[in-house]
Subunit: 238 residues, 2 copies
């Protein structure tokens, strides 16, 4: 594989979790040779925000474990303080990554790569919606919907991959989670998934292991949602 | 468990990898109630440095994978640059943690806890020795030896735990790695381990699962060293 110095540094920096350097290199260097590496790195930046989101959920869940003596000592305020810090990080870093995609990544993308980027932006806007309220939350949901819709449309246009494309199915999965969790519409989410699964069936194509796994998760989610369990965290990490 | 606000914040910060806050709280607050939590947090800070050391080894190992065309593009300099950054982080952070132990932790320690702290300091000095040269390396090795020796002496004085104490056996393990890898003395390391294993045998005590695991690693290391394999990375993380 031919790789430039900057791309190599970004790759190594990513492997040791030095995301500041990854962002800097992606912003400053156009000399990547290999475009798939760029997308891999942006995906990794999104994963970092996903792990902040996991931390936020972990800390929030600590609230339920506090007993009355903890409450009197003000431990709730400690939790709230950390939650605020994590929320701020999620807001700031998601903004950085979205800006990076818009200013430094999309220009190198073919349609399928653009679908990937729009899915990432949809995911990030969904995370932002989860931690905001009122009109800010509404506009984050709206933006997430728009990015997921764009991603699906672009992925559908790649006719040699659609409808069994893992990227397409992953977008269906994450978008359906938004429909269920944030738009409060499990029935709509189920119908939406079923339509995608029907297209897969009708295509008669051989599935990759990744697509098979996604279809399993989609079916599992339908079962859970039909049983009324809404708090579902499985989503697609690519 | 009764816990102070500061201790609770440190615990949550540790759980989400916010080590700056952990260091700050351990430095500024004496209000921990629970001393074992203090040690847990310092151990976690050491683990963070251990993971920097793992990153450094990963990046160094990339050098061997470079082909001639990579070399001509100057990719070696990228690796060297990242290795320098990681080495600097290891040096800076180990210094911070050792200072924290000396100024803010030892004062609350009984002898067994002091043995734990000295083992940590021995580990950190060993990491520093690995990435320094000349007289700096020699003095880091010397300091590591002194800390491990202190730890063993303190652990031996806890007669109700010695010689099957996991902390004691973990110190034997890590100190033997220093003897083999940095003092270049595998025979000495083997003799040293065998003496500790003999004391375990003669004690006729029932072993905890942790001690049993350590004894297995110690025996594995002896086998590998007897076969002349020196590059052994298994060590005790507590």
């Amino acid at each position: 594989m031919t790789i430039s110095k900057a791309a190599y540094k970004a790759k190594l920096s990513d492997s040791i979790g030095n995301y500041e350097d990854v962002i800097q290199i992606l912003t400053e260097s156009s000399d990547f040779h290999d475009s798939s590496l760029r997308l891999l790195l942006v995906g990794s930046l999104r994963n970092r925000i996903t792990s902040l989101r996991t931390s936020l959920r972990t800390i929030k869940s600590c609230k339920e474990k506090l007993d009355p003596s903890d409450l009197s000592k003000g431990l709730t305020s400690v939790i709230n303080e950390i939650c605020e810090e994590l929320s701020k990080l999620i807001m700031d870093e998601s903004e950085d990554v979205i800006r990076l995609i818009d200013d430094n990544i999309l220009m190198y993308c073919n349609d399928h790569d653009k679908a990937f980027c729009n899915k990432l932006k949809g995911d990030l806007m969904r995370y932002r919606a989860e931690i905001t309220t009122g009109s800010e939350r509404s506009s984050n949901i709206k933006a997430s919907v728009a990015f997921y819709e764009d991603s699906l449309q672009l992925a559908r246009s790649c006719t040699e991959k659609y409808p069994i494309d893992p990227l397409y199915l992953g977008t269906i999965l994450n978008y359906s989670i938004l429909k269920c969790d944030l738009l409060n519409n499990p029935e709509g989410a189920i119908t939406f998934i079923n339509r995608a699964l029907l297209a897969v069936k009708e295509s008669n194509e051989t599935l990759s292991p990744q697509s098979e796994q996604l279809i399993k998760i989609l079916n599992d989610n339908i079962s859970k949602w039909e049983q009324g369990s809404k708090n579902l965290f499985t989503s697609a990490f690519f």
